[in-house]
Amino acid sequence: MRVCVIGAGAIGSLLAAHLAKVADVSVLTRRDSHAQALNEHGLMVSGRHDFTARVAAVAEPNELPEFDLGIIATKATGVTGAAASLRGRFPEATIMTVQNGLGAEEIVRAQGGWPLVSAVTFMSGTKHSDTHVEYILDTPTWLGPYEGSSYERVQEIAQLLVDAGLEAEALPDLRPAQWSKLVFNATVNGVSALTGLPHDAHFAAEAEPSDLGHLVHDLVDEGKRVAAAAGVELYDDPWEMNVLATQRGSAHYPSMLEDVEAHRPTEVELINGALVREAARLEVDVPLHTAVYRLVAAREASYS
């Protein structure tokens, strides 16, 4: 199989390096120097796995070789640009999205008629350089069909990820998993970006009246009501996901926190905005998610 990974952040790098063990992998980077470094030095994985992969990287979309599976692994804010760069090409390829939040599939669909596969990933890594990614959490990636794409194809791709040494599972309906992650991300990433706290024990603390755990709990409950109104039975309870995550040794820095600290655009529209818009469509009141959404969006506006 020929795989193209579009976007070589932490998740894209982890996917590309592992898949290179079992497939021909090309990588589309944003910067030319990043592509050159990958071609010259390969892509090193440390942490849970330890190896260096050979990948063929380019920064110019027109130079991409043919592929059977394209994985868009940019941040949610980069999906439009990534999909546009594939527009009118690779008609036989399946395109898979792994973004946080909701709506990445629609953005890709607007750029072409490729068969699509939805995925959400819970694995995490830290990019130490253009050519070195640390594999931190080996929690799974879940895949499901989108708009009637073939479930067999989804299973093939999940198997490919497993053969590559990653944790993956095909699900006939991805929405329960996607919504679990949506509610989790809208809550944890938003609170983290506003407070400056990494995802640590504060998020589960409920002893004092002003403890952050109360707010996190209330945000999760609001999110669950939206999911229920959408007819989705959540795969995992986001509050339990939150508590478990805060009990792991080192606290995770959600990308939304890193983004506001670096004054970069955040994924707030596709995560918090998506949840608030779904709630409005389903006529569910979400005053707390609305507040968090507005505050993070305004924090972004404060850069300029």
Partner: protein
Amino acid sequence: MRVCIVGCGAVGSLFAATLAQLDDVEVWAYDLNREHVDAINRDGLRLSGAGEALGRPSATSDPGELPACDFGIVATKAMHTSPAIEATAAAFADGCVATVQNGLGNEEAIAKHTERVIRGTTFPAGKLLEPGHVQWDVKGDTTFGPFEPKPAPFEEIARLAEACTRAGMPAQAVEDARGPQWRKVIFNAATNPVGALTRLTHGRVCEDPGLRRLVSGLVDEGKAVAAAQGIVLDADPEDLIDHAAKPEVAYGHKASMLQDVEARRPTEIDYLNGGIVRFGEEHEIPTPLNRAIWSLVKGLEQSW
């Protein structure tokens, strides 16, 4: 008459310097900032900006030096009320103690250590430029009234208000001083933390329609808690918010809480939104947005 200003920061200095101009008032200033105390004793206390004054209060950091006073005016930040009044209470054994601080709960803290308490709210503002020198930014009114559980005699309250007015700090004695106090608390609780969490100035908060709705949501909860106590606001906090957003008033003003956050100092959140939540609980009025904002700012403080 002898008055001691407890906490001679910006607001305390406005009272200390102006009252010290009057022949019939002896002013003491208690403050822990030794450089400021030494400068006041050496060169006097100077105000410049919206008003000019040079007063010569007797300043000290040693509560043992304070003589018996007719009045105390507590002007510390709200989180310092208890230690400040505990240290100085002996000077007010036969006197009355007023607060001109932000937030809710200061009167209660003062009443733990003294017998005759004056509820107060003040709108003038300034900042300490250097030891002994305060910039007077905004002129405004002060309202004094009895603190109901441990009231000062009304004629004493009137005597203090009359002296302040004569000194150039217009003050009014009223039977129920809760209206202006809650108007200011609601204003501050609805705007200060939103500025602090988004890093936006007051005017930019107000011109973002989503954020402005969040501000109104916070105001509405505060109004409901005030109404449940039978408090009649002396004006609508919404009008104050819109007035302050005008370019010629305070469009570019960074809320003091935003200044605290930027300097990583403890904020007054426990006495603003935390106070509204506590009074709401007592009167069974739900305050979910104020509670959320309280938790977020507490989380922000914990991230330092």
